[in-house]
């Protein structure tokens, strides 16, 4: 199945320069966490994930054609 991800904030450094999103072909039954690992996110790098306007967890099963939004932690300035 084909699943597209949009990455926000500093997560975008995982994308080729100038790209807004990435589409991967994953086996049926793959979950959000599998997509994240395929992109190469480190533990804790992603804060929240959303599909169809709802927050989802790492074990949420993906469906063909999904667009997954990955968000970094919300800050209010840089970390000390």
């Amino acid at each position: 199945m084909r699943v597209t991800a949009k990455l926000y904030g500093d997560l975008r450094r995982r994308l080729p320069k100038g790209e807004e999103s990435i589409t991967l072909v994953l086996p049926v039954g793959a979950a959000v966490g599998d997509f994240g690992r395929a992109i190469g996110f480190e533990d804790g790098e992603v804060w929240k994930v959303s599909i169809d306007g709802q927050l989802v967890e790492e074990d949420h099963a993906l469906r063909d054609g999904d667009t997954v939004l990955f968000f970094p932690p919300i800050e209010g300035g840089s970390e000390p």
Binding site: Y8, G9, D10, R12, R13, D43, G44, E45, W47, K48, S50, G53, Q54, L55, L69, F71, P72, P73, I74, E75, G76, G77, S78, E79, P80
Partner: protein, 623 residues
């Protein structure tokens, strides 16, 4: 030989046009550093007890820091401080651009202004020379016109101007000081005080920066940032503040309709990504900064938004956008321009607007009050018209120009339940029901509901970065945790943030705590440490606390509005109210951690002694 500072603080008394210079000496600089530290010192020393914020006796301080002017990203800033016309206590706010660095180049470490001129004036400071010049012809002008007229009459396009527009002249209580047309010392009403002194602007130009102790190391650090910012601050470089608002609203963080609703379906329409795709025409930077996070926008229809005024930061996107229920990005950009042209704080202006909208929707304000404006959430044209009325103090605008706390008293009935502020200063655009440590910071910060020096809990909910670990914060904590451990985390982060405000280093730069120490050593030659910076932060927090106590503020002023003790109407925080007893417990625990009286929050003599500021005792009530 001193490094990083001139040992010259300019004193200007506008009442008698007297100009003098303090040379406070090396111990002063090492004890207070600059910026927020110098502001706190002069407010406590020179502000008579109990004066009217708009009276001639109020003190207005402009203070860069020891790093300012060095070739380091984030080192072009200055702090502005005064007795706040919103809180009655300490106001301090930091601002970027180029002005702070230029003041240092002009030969001064800070300016302390007292008195009131009989007619409008501006200061012209150039290579050590100081002139008080007539500004009658500038009075009433917007910031862009004023800057152009000053540069033109002084014949130098590179002059930097800190100034007030009509909002400051009209003493709108949340008027701010604007640097370089687009940077704001936003919070606390510094611009209203500047206007009350008939001081229109401070123009600066200079040609020499104080020498650094180790200029090679300073340049190395500057180059390191230039080589690494794409790795460390990519989103800031590409978009500036305000990315990923869809995620923010799903978590409840994006304030929506006066912090009432908790979810904004149109979040994407006001995000920094959409700014870039639609109205963005480029990015600009502040002094010596490679990151260039400042949006530049242009709109031709239906409003004329001039790129000279920059573009909206996150705080503005949220305060005039989601918090007013407005999804029209062009209108938000126009509101940003009006605030920069009139010198209004976009956070308090948007917060006060949202307050008025909720009053209108609940029948506390009528069409008669608003002169026919349907001042409902989402009505962008009405918002823009009311913003004009506030700046001009016309009609209902005259009431709202007082800020939401005083406006609520004027409107009466139960309007105060819609006034979202602490000590009279409206909330930053970060939800305390989500970020509970930040909520504590909003309550106890000396300057009111400040988001800039608190702990943004969400940054450490899943993993803890190396910078936090240097403060002894090693493990992730839930954002909604408000345990004693979280109180300690807030206390330490707040101390470092205030120390950073003494250095006046930009909070958005990816310098970690150790790098702040390293650059301070390189610039000043002091063999300083993170411990000494933390002590500095604690000292200045305690000084501001003492000033507030002296001016009559009490523990009762460290209080969050009732709204936060209920859930939002929808979204992730609909069943996540804060707990009043938990916040009170955390507040008193914080007092205890700070060495203040655990009940009253008054700094103790022991703590003043430890911080080497026994002289502050005079400010406190007799025991």
């Amino acid at each position: 030989m001193t490094y990083g500072y001139w040992n010259k603080i300019l004193k200007v008394d506008l009442s008698n046009q007297h100009i003098g210079v303090d040379e406070p000496g090396d111990i002063f600089y090492r004890r207070y550093f600059g910026g927020a530290g110098v502001v706190a010192y002069y407010l406590l020393k020179e502000l008579p007890r109990g004066v009217d914020a708009f009276g001639p006796d109020n003190v207005l301080v402009f203070a860069p820091g020891v790093l300012t002017g060095q070739p380091l990203g984030g080192a072009g800033r200055n702090c502005v401080g005064t007795k706040s016309p919103l809180t009655g206590g300490a106001a301090k706010s930091e601002v970027g651009g180029f002005w702070g660095a230029e003041l240092k180049r002009a030969g001064y470490d800070a300016i302390v202004i007292t008195g009131r001129s009989e007619h409008p004036v501006y200061l012209w400071i150039h290579d050590g020379e100081v002139e008080i010049r007539d500004a009658s012809h500038l009075w009433g002008q917007n910031t862009k016109e004023t800057q152009e007229m000053i540069r033109s009459e002084l014949g130098d396009r590179l002059i930097r101007v800190a100034q007030v527009g009509p909002g400051g002249e009209n003493r709108v209580r949340f008027a701010c000081v604007i640097n370089d047309l687009k940077e704001a010392a936003g919070r606390g009403g510094t611009g209203a005080v500047m206007g009350s002194k008939n001081l229109k602007a401070i123009a600066v130009r200079g040609h020499q920066t104080p020498e650094a102790a180790d200029p090679v190391k300073v340049r190395e650090m500057g180059k390191w940032l230039a080589a690494n910012y794409e790795k460390l601050a990519l989103a800031m470089h590409e978009y500036g503040t305000g990315v990923a608002l869809q995620g923010s609203t799903l978590t409840g963080n994006l304030p929506t309709r006066n912090f009432r609703d908790g979810y904004f379906a149109a979040a994407e329409q006001i995000s920094a990504e959409t700014v870039k795709e639609t109205i963005g025409v480029g990015m600009e930077g502040c002094y010596a900064c490679p990151i260039r996070c400042k949006k530049v926008v242009k709109v031709d229809d239906p409003y004329n938004v001039d790129p000279a005024y920059g573009g909206p930061e996150y705080e503005t996107l949220a305060s005039f956008g989601s918090n007013c229920g407005i999804s029209d990005l062009k209108a938000v950009a126009m509101a940003n321009q009006l605030c920069n042209a009139y010198s209004l704080d976009t956070i308090s202006a948007g917060g006060t607007m949202a307050f008025a909208m909720e009053c209108f929707e609940n029948g506390l304000l009528t069409l008669e009050d608003t002169e026919g404006l349907e001042l409902r959430f989402g009505n962008a044209p009405a918002m823009l018209k009311m913003l004009e009325m506030i700046a001009r103090r016309r009609g209902l605008g005259d009431v709202l120009a007082e800020g939401s706390r005083i406006a609520a008293r004027r409107i009466g009935l139960d309007a105060d339940r819609y006034s979202l502020q602490v000590k009279g200063v409206e909330f930053g655009m970060h939800e305390p029901r989500l970020k509970r440590g930040l909520g504590l910071g909003y309550a106890v910060a000396a300057v009111g509901a400040d988001h800039g020096t608190g702990f943004h809990d969400t940054m450490a909910e899943q993993r803890v970065g190396e910078g936090l670990k240097t403060l002894g914060i090693l493990e992730p904590m839930r954002a909604d945790d408000l345990s004693y451990r979280k109180v300690g985390v807030f206390a330490r982060v707040h101390q470092l943030a205030i120390a950073r405000d003494c250095l006046v280093m930009c909070t958005f730069l990816p310098w970690n705590a150790q790098q702040l120490v390293d650059m301070t050593v390189a610039v000043t030659g002091w063999k300083t440490s993170l411990w000494e910076l933390m002590l500095l932060g604690e000292r200045v927090i305690t000084m501001n606390r003492a000033l507030n106590v002296r001016e009559g503020l009490t523990a009762d002023d460290d209080r969050l509005p009732e709204r936060f003790f209920t859930g939002t109407t929808e979204g992730a925080l609909s069943n996540k109210p804060m707990n009043r007893e938990e916040v009170e417990r955390a507040k008193h625990a914080y007092y205890r951690l700070m060495g203040w009286d655990p009940e009253t929050g008054v700094p103790t003599p022991e703590k003043l002694g430890e911080l080497a500021i026994e002289w502050v005792e005079e400010a406190l009530p007799s025991r």
